[in-house]
Symmetry: C2
Subunit: 439 residues, 2 copies
Amino acid sequence: MRENYRKLRVAVLGGGTVGAQVAHRLLDNADELGSRSGAGLELIGVAVRDLSAKRSVALPKKLLTTDPHSLIVGADIVVELMGGLEPARTLVLEALASGADVITANKALLAEHGPELFDAAAKVGAQLYYEAAVAAAIPIIRPLRDSLAGDHVTKIMGIVNGTTNYILDEMDTLGLGFEEALAAATDLGYAEADPTADIEGYDAAQKASILSSLAFHTAVPLVDVYREGITGVSAGQIEAAKRSGHVIKLLAICERRVDAHTGQEGVSTRVHPTLIPRTHPLAAARGANNAVYVEAEAAGPLMFYGAGAGGPETASAVLGDIVSAARRHVAGGPGVGESTHADLPSIPLSHVESRLQITLVVADQPGVLAAIAGVFSEHQVSVETLHQSVATTEEAGAQTATLVIQTHLASEERTQATITALEHNPVVLSVSSVLRVEG
Amino acid sequence: MRENYRKLRVAVLGGGTVGAQVAHRLLDNADELGSRSGAGLELIGVAVRDLSAKRSVALPKKLLTTDPHSLIVGADIVVELMGGLEPARTLVLEALASGADVITANKALLAEHGPELFDAAAKVGAQLYYEAAVAAAIPIIRPLRDSLAGDHVTKIMGIVNGTTNYILDEMDTLGLGFEEALAAATDLGYAEADPTADIEGYDAAQKASILSSLAFHTAVPLVDVYREGITGVSAGQIEAAKRSGHVIKLLAICERRVDAHTGQEGVSTRVHPTLIPRTHPLAAARGANNAVYVEAEAAGPLMFYGAGAGGPETASAVLGDIVSAARRHVAGGPGVGESTHADLPSIPLSHVESRLQITLVVADQPGVLAAIAGVFSEHQVSVETLHQSVATTEEAGAQTATLVIQTHLASEERTQATITALEHNPVVLSVSSVLRVEG
């Protein structure tokens, strides 16, 4: 043990699963965390809503308080694990203003108020750490901020929501419909009673905003993230994806690219169900796991994989950040601010080119293929592959066929116009699926 | 651009592929690297062996020098990319003694002289960065040192040598023999003219020593790393692995475990061909790629995947370290020393329990299974599965059968005694393969 060992006071805000685990580890592993930090870490208290609530891990009564403000006043490091926007935002700003470093796992807070918080930290030379906010214990924030700081990230594709990955994986593996798979996820505790934030892609969109901002040195507000959930994904689409050697994943895609309209470089950030080849590394992320695939100019493709949620996993990421903050205090000097120097414009989805897989049910009669091909050519959307499956259904007394068409890269505007034209074409009985393709 | 922008002087030692790329990026992206660092980065020179040698990237003549010592004198950050033990060791020590931070991609140097270098850095409060020394641009050093600093790593299994992974993958995919696959790797530039360091596992052993030391906060010298290369892996073993749902990978395994003899906790570090299930995440690392699988108590299993070698990839990791070093200089204070507080003993392979897959050719006659089972039971090695394949060959005039036996965990001592006993058993015609199993 060192002689002039600096003592750092740590306050934990929030006594839920993660908060209790973090507090417990700080008490239990103080010596070890100290020798890794170069500083003594003293837990000065845990701010909770209800002093008598049952905790997942027992904590000494004398450490609990219902007054977070009093804890912040005396803290060098404040760990915000309350979740939600308020009072978390006010408390984090209060902590930063006091010069404390702040660690948070609060993705909603960062996605909504990131720039305000980063500015507040920069003003006093404090630092905001948030490794736990995306993909829990999978290191992704630090690799993007530090490891790739000398490189240019060009694209991120992330499976960053475990609930939806579990649901899609169950649909893929067991052939379940969406509702059945959701029920299974709820039974197992993978989905919350109100699953909206997960299945509608809100959670993934928050994480996409955080990743895009960090990777491209640009503030990407949540409102600039295109978002589409998985409630519309059908068992038929999953089955068709399988047949074409694909799997459907809900991806958070962050991409530095050229705006198809303005020709200017910008950032496209979008969350939607996506077809990827079954051989793509991301396809190996099964169950409720997360995986983040990063392409950088020099480093090439990298993938980070693991559990993306859970109390111990999130606590692991938070404790890693606490050690980083402690080392920073020992070193002294200002924190590393969030860099936004690139300041790229956000590209709306309508200015992004993508590849689509479009499934049509058509009348099985001569001239149909030519008619369909004509629609694509008319809208200048180039077809990469076209598969016609054996006519299997009868509709309106006539034989029908199913066409699965994959396009080359085409602008959203053109593909949307193509789809509208297909819907109105007399040989098309229905446009049964439209999915974006990556990888 | 800031007003009182601090200028940091960077010296690059080594003008090979990586050195030239790093120097080029420092010149070309100075502004961007500056805004990410909070400091100006000025390349003061590149020390080379031969001023007139052809470089992969052209560099201004006036920056080249054959005198590394003169560069070190004036540098805040020294980047060692010469490779080899000397003069690299002397120059790194010289740089650290002068108070400069040092960045190195030199795995041999770290594996042989790590503790000496870390001590030299700690003495003056400088820091040694080495993200590029293991798996190039795949962030693994920083995740272990920072992200998992509040967790306990229990095991690492890494595919950390691209050449051997390429060879094994070709054998697996195309059914090639070792020599053919090596020749293909040499043709493609994946294997060097003298491939010994790769195929005999020396390169992987150096990386294992580095990972084990870092993950377990313990100096693990290279001499404590068990090492076995892939030259003995046969097409027959690869084929048999396939049939049993496995794939053979050369793994660097770093494990915190109990010494089977002393009962004390220690660290086992070993490199050997290993059978892993084809469903294991590591099995997805194809071609010359690297992948590192990390198990930690709270974070659970994590995997890091990407290209493990290459000029741009290694340069990406080095530049990330340069930005980290620059940020540290801006902050001031001492560097984060290597932590060796756990100081665990190394466990020799003979004290490690492992699972083996043993393949025997036996006489196809009544009583053979009982005799074999007797040998295992006599040595207290428990059998997990036993597969007898159809007798297909004739040897010495008699029908033969092949037995593939997978054991439960058993000590090296017992399994070795079992193998010796099998070799001397009259019903055993040959012990045709012995492989360790993980995952």
